[in-house]
């Protein structure tokens, strides 16, 4: 579903590339977690899949389509949750969800919208309040609901649980597992080794633009993964 072929991004000519010849495949039903320090190339990878950056060379494919060539068509298969979800502060959480769902071509009844927000973990009394009054975690939950509403085949997550409390993080992990079971391909950049080991099917460790390890999560304990991570970076 998601595939990177020799994907390279060099922001400044002459400097070492931020992403160097990345090869990566995420199948439907798989959750691929990218670990790595700040600046390792995780966000660059996700932005290349989103088409927000033109690649220097190589290809990012979504459902077999090259993102650089088909920026609009590939969006149909994608949902995205950034590290900090920003919404329209003068609309309510419900209105924001409705707006972004309609943008993707979905018209939900108010009941469906409420149920999506609740599923994402947003308390009912906040649904009708303006997003300007929300905390970061609450916005993050609306972001999750927006991603859920699109029913996309591939989900790109850039440190999605930052700002979520442990309980909300845990609920989020359950949502991700559920989505994977129903066939969604998920690529997630994260710093959370423990959670990566929990939800991930595969784990990639990045350093200075290279994918240096690609491991199967089920073969490891969290402690082993942490040891490998610390050795690698």
């Amino acid at each position: 579903m998601l595939q990177a072929i020799e994907l390279t991004k060099q922001y400044v000519p002459g400097q070492p590339p931020s992403l160097d010849a990345l090869n990566l495949t995420v199948q439907p039903g798989e959750i691929y977690c990218l670990l790595g320090q700040n600046g390792a190339g995780k966000t660059t990878t996700i932005n290349l899949f989103l088409g927000f950056l033109p690649p220097t060379s190589g290809q990012a494919l979504i459902n077999g389509l090259n993102v650089a060539e088909y920026p609009q068509e590939t969006k149909k298969f994608l949902a995205y949750l950034p590290e900090t979800v920003m919404l329209y502060p003068n609309l309510t959480g419900l209105e924001n969800l409705d707006f972004f769902a309609q943008l993707a071509g979905f018209r939900h009844t108010p009941d469906e919208l409420h149920s999506l927000l609740s599923r994402a973990g947003l308390q009912t009394e906040a649904h009708g309040k303006r997003v300007g009054t929300y905390s970061k975690g609450m916005r993050q939950k609306v972001g999750i609901a927006i991603a859920l509403a699109k029913q996309a085949k591939a989900l790109l997550l850039d440190e999605p649980t930052s700002g979520l409390d442990p309980k909300a993080s845990n609920e989020f992990s359950e949502i991700l597992t559920g989505l994977a079971q129903s066939g969604t391909a998920i690529l997630m950049a994260t710093h959370d080794i423990f959670r990566a080991r929990e939800v991930g099917t595969r784990i990639g460790i990045m350093r200075a633009g290279h994918l240096v390890e690609s491991l199967s999560a089920s073969d490891l304990t969290a402690n082993e993964l942490e040891a490998i991570y610390l050795q690698t970076v």
Binding site: F52, T84, M86, N90, Q102, L103, T109
Partner: protein, 469 residues
């Protein structure tokens, strides 16, 4: 019942409505800026209608006064000079009115500088042509805050305020990445954001014009249609410029500076430059020079041999050679011949002035074809019959009118026809109705061209950069 309710709710909660709420509540001051801007524009639009109304009333008053004056003055003068037709016609002033249409109140143009009433005696014309009304110097300094001013200068500012940050603001606030991923048709979505704002601005403009129709009594005709078409075209032009600037994907502050720069160039710098160019390219001989030539042509005749003067006069009007000379208190035939020759001898200068003004008018129109702002101003003036073209045609008409009155008066003077045999109250004030044709294509063509250009450039640029952060 439940089903229809659900559909209604769906319609009410449509995306465009949410985008509208977002727009109207948006901004750092919770949308106050947007609402204040709209209110301000509407208020000044309404004020402009009252400025126009006041202008129309002044015009009407002036015309009423002139008509009344002519009705009372002619019989009075006739009674006073009942035995001397030549002397009577020395004094009588025949008035021509340059018809003011209700639409003129929306675009006053040069009508506050140029007189709308010309009163001429049958004496030399050239000296009388430039006897203007008294005008209010303070008014001339400020210019009129009429509808055309509000449209041409102020509407673009509101359009810029509404659209300068349409995408950049979302990028700067972080919502753009989710919008870009969620949207099925991102360019279409941007188009909707622009259309939403366009609808709001159009509504303000149409509301002002809708108010103007009853307030000023504007007839619903093709001219009003073209006037509206020009206004719509002008607003669309500015939206297309803003669309193009948005497609450059710069920061909000850069967009704002760029758009205000464009406003300044298109509305202040270029028109001033064009004006300078035209003034330098077609220097107009002073109207005063023509007056001087006419005066000289006439006054010299006092010291010239009468026969020579009359011979020149007969060369111009052979038909009066046959009119037998009759005895009269003053030799009016010779006197009016002198007056006539003043005009004849300054005809060169007068023609040159007329021609230069015509060239200026033509040149500014051709240049304006490539400057939608200037084009709008000129076209609104043309449609409201308040521009230089109208003034030139009115001057031509005044000359024809003057000639008509001369040819009517000369035989009566030369035969010293009895004054009281003439019914002086039958001399009505004449009205010039400007019927110069206006071609819709020349009015709207420029807009179509420039809107297509900027919208096309914006579309092309967006196709390349729309997803780039």
């Amino acid at each position: 019942m439940g089903g229809s309710l659900a559909i209604n709710q769906n319609l009410n909660r449509s995306m465009i409505r949410l985008a509208f709420i977002q727009f109207i509540r948006s901004g750092r001051y919770a949308g106050a800026g947007i609402r204040i801007g709209l209110f301000f524009l509407l208020a000044i639009g309404v004020i402009s209608l009252f400025v126009g109304k006041q202008f129309a009333q002044q015009q009407q008053q002036g015309i009423t006064d002139v008509v009344q004056f002519q009705q009372t003055d002619f019989p009075r003068q006739a009674a006073l000079h009942h035995d001397d037709m030549g002397l009577l016609l020395y004094y009588l002033k025949f008035s021509v009115i340059n018809q003011t249409r209700p639409l003129t109140a929306l675009a006053i143009g040069q009508r506050d500088v140029n007189p709308s009433v010309q009163s001429v005696t049958i004496r030399g014309l050239e000296g009388q042509k430039y006897d203007a009304d008294l005008t209010n110097p303070a008014n001339l300094l400020l210019g009129n805050v009429d509808f055309s001013f509000v449209l041409v200068y102020l509407f673009p500012l509101l359009i810029i305020a509404f659209t300068y940050s349409i995408i950049s603001d979302e990028k700067e606030n972080g919502t753009w990445s989710i919008v870009a991923v969620q949207s099925r048709h991102l360019l279409g979505f941007i188009g909707q954001l622009f259309l939403l704002r366009l609808a709001v601005v159009m509504a303000v403009m149409l509301l002002i014009v809708a108010l103007a129709i009853p307030v000023l009594g504007i007839p619903l005709d093709g001219v009003l249609g073209l006037f509206l078409g020009t206004s719509v075209g002008y607003i669309l032009f500015w939206f297309s410029v803003c669309f193009w600037v948005a497609s450059l994907q710069r920061a909000s502050s850069t967009n704002a500076i760029l758009l205000l720069g464009i406003w300044l160039v298109l509305l202040i710098v270029l028109p001033a430059g064009v004006n300078n160019y035209i003034t330098a390219r077609y220097p107009v001989p002073e109207a005063q020079a023509t007056t001087l030539a006419q005066r000289k042509g006439y006054h010299e005749k006092w010291d010239t041999d009468k026969t020579a003067t009359l011979e020149k006069f007969y060369a111009h009007y052979p038909q009066f050679r046959q009119v037998p000379v009759v005895d009269m208190p003053t030799d009016w035939r010779w006197y009016y011949a002198m007056q006539q020759l003043g005009d004849d001898e300054s005809a060169g200068q007068a023609g040159e002035l007329r021609q230069k003004l015509e060239q200026r008018e033509r040149a500014s129109r051709s240049i304006a074809q490539f400057m939608p702002t200037l084009h709008t101003q000129l076209q609104l003036g043309e449609l409201a019959r308040s521009g230089l073209g109208n003034q030139l045609r009115f001057m031509d008409y005044t000359s024809q009118f003057h000639e008509k009155m001369r040819l009517y008066s000369y035989p009566k003077i030369f035969t010293n026809a009895p004054v009281l045999a003439e019914k002086w109250t039958d001399f009505k004030v004449d009205t010039f109705t400007d019927e110069a044709p206006i071609h819709p294509l020349s009015v709207l063509g420029t807009f179509v061209l420039f809107i297509a250009l900027f919208a096309g450039l914006g579309w092309f640029r967006f196709r390349q950069t729309i997803y780039h952060l």
